[in-house]
Structure formats: C-alpha cells, structure tokens
Symmetry: C2
C-alpha cells in the first residue's frame, strides 16, 4: 500500500466511527457548532468528543475557531460535504429526506452546506430555467449559470441578493448535482443567496439540529402562487 492509500485510509476510518460520523453529518447543514453541542449530538462525553474532534481536525475534515472559551467546529469546505453526501448515497440511505409528516412540510428540502438541496431546490432550479431567468454555459468545471436581464429583475424582486452574490469571490452559480434527486439544483453564491432569501422571508425554517428545512405555511402559499410548486404531504 503506497503513501497515498495510507492517507485515504486515515480519512475514511476517521469518518467510519459512529460518534465522529454523527458530528460530521450534524455539521453538514453548514452551521458551526461547539464541541459541547457536538458531544451531545453524538451522545458521548465531552472528553470523548474532544478526542474525536482532534482526530477530525488532524485529518482536515473540520476546522475550529476559538471565541473565548468556546470552540466552534465547522466542516472543512464543500469538498468534505461532497464526500459525505456521496457516502450517504453509497450507503443507500437518503440524507434526511423524510420530514415529519405535517401538512406544511415539503417531503424533501434540506440545506446542503450553504445552499438549498432536495426536491424544492430542484423544482426552483427547473422553474428558473423554464422562465429563462438563467442561462447556462459549459465550462471546464461543469455547467455554470448566468442570470439573464429578466431573471435579474425577477430574482431581485423575490428578495434574492443577486448583486451581492455576484460580488462575492466565489463561483456565481453552478449546477450542483443533487445526490438524492439525481437532478441539478443551484449551487454557488447564487444558491446561497436563494437559501438566505427563503429563510429571511420565512418560506422555510431550519429544523433544530437537522439539515432538513421545513416549508412554512407562508412558504407553501408563496411557492404555489409564485412558482406553481405544490408541497406534497
């Protein structure tokens, strides 16, 4: 086994332990969490959690920021999120696809690192494309989107900070393949702006300690009237 494989084994075995996996998947919603919170989520003692987090940090799966006595842990970038999603698909388990069967909840909506993923995200993507608010162009990195003039005004009227997304030093908008839906949703800065707007307008809310997003009553109404997207129960 060469040196490269040794590194892979360390990364895979770091993920392949129940407590550490719990913590990693808990961070998949893109939010930072303290070590004490992660200990509780993983159902281990703070000392156990501390050792595990040190291991994850050593393998560059998480980053930590200290603020006073608190230590805030986050996933170390979208590539980690990508592999975790891939492992979920490989395991045959859908990452948090089922939301509680209340009439307001969309069957599948979740935050994928910093943007929306799931059924709702795919439907929004399809709608924006159908309305020709996005144009696509192939690049060496996959398919990217640009916002058309009509799309710019429509999305801005929806409260989506298109200009702010454009000014960020990151990819503006790209097709992000949705592992659970097997179809694209919108990633990049625009994808993050869309999630921000949906949260601000309270069309969706975050589930506590979960990547799932819950579609609110208001959200359901707005999504139906604006986009023709029905939530199914």
């Amino acid at each position: 086994m060469d040196a490269a494989d040794v590194a892979v084994v360390k990364v895979a075995s770091a993920i392949g332990e129940p407590a550490r996996a719990s913590m990693l998947y808990a961070l998949l919603d893109g939010r930072a969490r303290t070590s004490t919170e992660l200990a509780m989520l993983a159902e281990v003692s703070p000392s156990t959690a501390s050792v595990h987090l040190d291991r994850l940090k050593g393998e560059r799966l998480v980053t930590v920021v200290a603020q006073g006595k608190h230590r805030y842990y986050s996933l170390n970038g979208p590539r980690v999120a990508y592999v975790l999603e891939g492992l979920s698909v490989l395991a045959g388990a859908r990452p948090t696809e089922f939301t509680p069967s209340t009439p307001d909840a969309l069957v599948t909506a979740r935050s994928c690192y910093d943007h929306m993923a799931g059924h709702l995200a795919v439907r929004l993507h399809d709608h924006f494309r159908a309305m020709k608010w996005l144009s696509s162009h192939a690049t060496h990195r996959g398919m990217n989107y640009e916002v058309t003039p009509a799309g710019a005004s429509a999305l801005t009227r929806l409260g989506i900070d298109v200009a702010g997304a454009r000014s960020r030093r990151r990819q503006f908008a790209r097709a992000c393949l949705d592992w659970s839906e097997r179809r694209p949703h919108i990633g990049g800065a625009l994808g993050a702006a869309i999630l921000d707007a949906a949260l601000k307008k309270k069309w969706v809310t975050r589930e506590l300690d979960s990547r799932a997003l819950r579609v609110t009553v208001i959200g359901r109404s707005e999504l139906r009237s604006r986009f023709g997207i029905e939530s199914t129960a």
Copy 2:
C-alpha cells in the same frame, strides 16, 4: 445516530482499513481480479483477504462472479469508484499521477473505471470539442455530449466504435469531471469506446497492477500527428 448514519459508518469503515482499501483501489482500474490476486496486492494472507472481501461484498462495495474455482471481484459500479476518487482528493493524494519517468510515458494517464482519465483524457476531450466532433447539451444529470456528423466519421475513422457505444444501454457520452485535472474528460459508453480503441491500437498500454496507462512510442507519435498532443517528460 439514526439508521442512515449507521449505514454510512459501515461503508466508511469498510473502506478505512488498509488491506480493504488496497483491494478497492486496485480494482479502480475497472478490471476484475481474483481473491488470491487481491490478497497479494494487499499483502495479507488468503484467509484474511477472504474475510475482508466478504465484508466489502456485504457493504455492496464489490461484486463477485464465480468461474469454476476462481472468484472474480469487481467494484460495484461507477458510484463506488466516484467515492473512492473523492476520498483520494480529500486525502490530498493524487490517484496515480506520476508514471515512471521514461521518455515515452505521459505524465498523467489512467483508467477511471472503464474510461480514460487524466491529462491525456482531458486533452482528447478538448481536442474533440475544438474540432466540433462533439456537441454538448445540458440535462438534468449534468452535461452530456452528442457526436456531430463530422465527429462520427472522424471518430469512426480513428477506430472508435461510435455505433457500438450508441447501442449500449447506458449513457452515451457525458462530461466526467476529472478529479486530478479538475477539468472534464469523456465518460459514458463513448468514453469506454475511446479507451478500448486506444488500447487496441496500442497507443496506450496498461501498467501491470496499476491504474496508470503508459503512452507507447506509437501512441506518442499518433497523438502528436493526429491531435497535436505532445507528451511531456
């Protein structure tokens, strides 16, 4: 930890053990291998290899086909290959980027499950696109390619079985993001046909027990004269 995470832990920990990882990465070149071969590659005894392979089979990472007394193991589809490549990237190791520094070897060429990946594959992709032998169209699954009429005759003249690729019950041609190059190469049935043709014409040969492909003297000459692709030493 919910049931989904338990499944993920089993998959990740199955990968995260040196002997099993060796066997998985040995299979990443898309060829089937016997359990005895894999035992040798992983430097464990046949009995140890047998138990490990049983574990990998249990987690659906490999499939096995018995032919007489031989057991041939393969990766269980491109999705497994995809996650293994993703783990390699995450681990910071490049999958077999360096070939021995003989003057004939291209720096980066390897087989990725059933098609060619690496620098050469990316250059071929770029050339075929530049010659407009491929047209692209975005689908809900990413970017796909179609062969133009000019491309069909040119590729067929190159010995690439375009018609055979088209008749297969799988995706004809798609942009497959090359993890090491970060640019697309050609996947799908056409990608496999291209690798087949390159092997048949002896432009490339397989390295023994490796995913690396070696560009032959003939291959280097043909690639330069036909496509303007130089191999660098």
